[in-house]
Structures are given as C-alpha cells and as structure tokens.
C-alpha cells in the first residue's frame, strides 16, 4: 500500500528537531533512512501525523576516531560503515556485520542510528553495540545524556529513548590491542533478517551477543569459548514464521560453535 497522510518537516539542526518533537509529542516520528519506517507506514502499522526528516542534518553523519573511541553519527549510512577504513581498522566486528544487512540499495539509505533506535531483535548493529560495549549519545530538551548499550536496548522494538529525545551518535571504545572479534548469522536468503546471529568480541573477557533469539540481543559473557558455549542452552528463543523455538536453539548452538572457533 501507500503511506497514510502525514505532514512533513525537514529541520536543519538537532535543536530544530528537538523543538519539533517537543511541539508534536506522540504525533511525531523521526524519519532517518526510512528503510524500516516507510514499510511500516505503507503497511499502516505506523501512522504518525508528523514526520520529522533528519536526513539533511549534516552534524548527525560521519565516523570520527578519537584517542579513546570511534564515534558513529546516528545518520551514518550502512554503506559508509561498509566502506570506512576506520571501521575496518578499529571495529572489524561492525565491518564483518555489514554485508549481512539487507541489500546494497537498502544499505545506501539505511542508517546506523535508525537501526539502533528501532531495535529490531534480529538486527545486526544492536548486537555489535552490545558486544563492543558502545555508549549511545542521546539529545533531549535538557541537553545530552549517555546510555550504555546494555541499558539502551530494553526489549522488542523498545529502547531507553524517551519521548522528545533524539539518538545522535554511538561511541565505541577503541578495542584493546590483541582483542579479536567474530561475526556470523544464519538467514534463509542473503540479506534477510537473521534466524540466529552472533556478534562476538574477545578482550579481557569474551562477550557474545546472540540476536534473533529473543526480544533483544542476549549477551553471554565468559572467560573462554567453552564457557560461552556451555551457556547457550540458557537462551530462550521464541518460535517465529521460519523456525520453532527448538530449531532456533539448535541453530544458535551450531552457529556459536562455528563462529567462536575463530576466537579460541
């Protein structure tokens, strides 16, 4: 179908965006890459009165490396992450996840922040943010606040973002020298949402974020690969259109065995 009627605003700054969100409250929705929101509009699952298009706010885009972290602007497109030498060098986990996200035409529009703010339980980037212990930067009327990935993803399509707030960036700590990461997912077709996926990072400890197996990515932390593998059984995936709960758990175990081998 086509999107329902809405009024469109295209603010030029974060301040203008916050003012619009404050003015229109629950009637407003932020439009970033639109690769999930527009299908939701077309399906009439969402019908906001006002769409606040943040696509022209340059300050929200880009990847910056500092002494302590890599900062990814919320409006950074998937394709920019895919092609960024800084991401390849400092965040190889994110680089490895990119080819699994949808298709080239979608990656040209879809944004990092959009994916995190939507919090689809089968999405790749929230799992990467959890595995790498990123911190989200959120702008609101009273200024900026920071929320650890662990506290950001609350559940099914639910995050710590409050009404009137805007996700502006995420900060990924620079990985310690010698740390390693591995990524893998199982999907029915290239580019589909994962049936089961794993974003894993080994620094002082091994953190494996399993996605597609619950309302939000589940982190299993342990000292060793065996330690993580022994806890996969604690995941409680729910059945969906493509697989029963038992099949998902089986796939999680198989995939964990394959992916974590790289970190042994």
């Amino acid at each position: 179908m086509k999107a329902p009627r809405f009024a469109y605003a295209r603010p030029a700054s974060v301040a203008e965006t916050l003012a619009l969100l404050d003015r229109h409250k629950d009637d407003a929705r932020v439009l970033a890459g639109g690769q999930s929101l527009v299908p939701m509009l077309n399906f009439r699952v969402a019908a906001p009165r006002v769409l606040v298009d943040i696509n022209r706010i340059a300050a929200l885009s880009g990847i910056r490396v500092t002494k302590t972290h890599v900062r990814i602007g919320a409006l950074t497109r998937h394709v920019e992450l895919e092609r960024s030498p800084d991401v390849a060098k400092h965040l190889p986990l994110v680089a490895a996840a990119m080819p699994h996200i949808a298709h080239p035409a979608i990656r040209n529009r879809g944004t990092f922040g959009g994916s995190c703010a939507l919090a689809d339980p089968a999405a790749e980037l929230p799992a990467c943010a959890l595995a790498l212990e990123a911190t989200f930067v959120i702008a609101g009327k009273k200024g900026e606040r920071r929320v650890a990935a662990e506290d950001f993803f609350k559940g099914l399509y639910a995050t710590a973002l409050k009404p009137g707030e805007l996700l502006v960036a995420a900060e990924f700590p620079l990985p310690k020298p010698g740390s390693k990461s591995a990524f893998g997912e199982l999907a029915r077709r290239q580019g589909d949402y994962a049936m089961v996926g794993i974003a894993a990072h080994r620094s002082t400890k091994l953190r494996a974020a399993f996605f597609g197996v619950g309302d939000r990515p589940e982190v299993i932390e342990a000292d060793t690969v065996e330690g993580v593998l022994s806890k996969v059984e604690t995941l409680a995936p729910r059945a969906d259109l493509h697989a029963s709960a038992a099949m998902k758990l089986h796939l999680a175990k198989v995939l964990a065995g394959r992916v974590l081998k790289e970190l042994a």
Binding site: F6, G34, R109
Partner: protein, 164 residues
C-alpha cells in the same frame, strides 16, 4: 522547512532534466516518477522494499523508489531506466539480457538492470557468487536467475577484456 506541511514544492533533476512540482508529502519517489512524470519504467511490486522492482538512482547510488518520498529527493539528481537507456549507459546490459533470454515478463528487469550497472561499477569483475549476492535484493519470478547472472557475467567479461 520547519513547520510541518502536507504538500511540498520540490525541484529536482530527473534523467538530466530539471523538473518542478508540488507533491503530497506522502507520495513515494516511485509514484512521483510514474504518475507525475509518466516514467513508468520504474515498477512497483511489493511497496515495502523487498522486491527491488522500483530501484532507481539518486545522486548516483541505487535506492528503493518505494522507500523514499518524492519530497526527500528535492534538490537531487535522479536517474531511471528511461534515462539510462537513452544515454546508452546500460545498452550492453540490455543487449546481453536479450541475447541470454534473461527476462520473460520483464517486470523486474528495469530494477535489475540498474542494480547490475551499479554492481559493475563497484565490483568490475564479479564472480557469479558476487553477482547473486549483489542482486539478492531484486526478485525475478520468471527466469530462475541463471540467465540473468549469465548476462551480467558476459558484460563484466567483455568490459574487462576491453580494459586490458
């Protein structure tokens, strides 16, 4: 453009031509091209970003015409299958598609041609696996893809041969 409005004046370049229109904010780029400009080569299949029939180029990059509103293309350069045919940019691909029978009903073909042209720009000499992967976002319900991959591979090889 700060106060929310339901109708927006936009100006953009489509296939090299400057156009100016007043459009409802809810109108997709694909619908704008088809109904306002009568460029019906851009097809609408699923209208939720899965099938790829509405693939067009915005500022040189392929996008889903159904997942972008026309108002968002304000000030942009849009290329459709009509423009790429006229400029002969995709001529080789079109000939190869005919030669290998890479289409039957043709509904998906405009989107596939535009995606394929983008693929050959990004990966000049792709493997069959890479072609399949790149085109995984473009559905064809007639051919079974084999002939489509053949056609794109043939063009890639011909271009690589000339570059040598």
């Amino acid at each position: 453009m700060n106060a929310p409005v339901e109708t927006v004046e936009i100006e953009l370049t489509v296939n090299g031509e400057r156009v100016k229109r007043s459009v409802p904010a809810r109108m997709s780029l694909a619908d704008f091209l088809r109904t306002e400009l009568e460029l019906t080569g851009t097809h609408l299949g699923c209208e939720h970003g899965v099938c790829g029939a509405c693939t067009v180029r915005v500022d040189g990059e392929i996008v889903r015409g159904c997942l972008m509103f026309a108002v968002q293309a304000d000030g942009c350069k849009v290329d459709t299958v009509e423009g790429l045919s006229e400029s002969r940019e995709i001529e080789e691909l079109q000939s190869a598609f005919v030669l290998t029978n890479a289409l039957q009903c043709g509904f998906c073909t405009p989107g596939i041609l535009i995606a394929a042209q983008s693929l050959l720009r990004d990966i000049p000499n792709p493997s069959r696996e890479q072609i399949r992967e790149y085109l995984s976002g473009n559905y064809c319900r007639c051919t079974g893809y084999q002939a489509i991959v053949d056609a794109i591979e043939a063009v890639a090889k011909a271009r690589a041969g000339r570059a040598r």
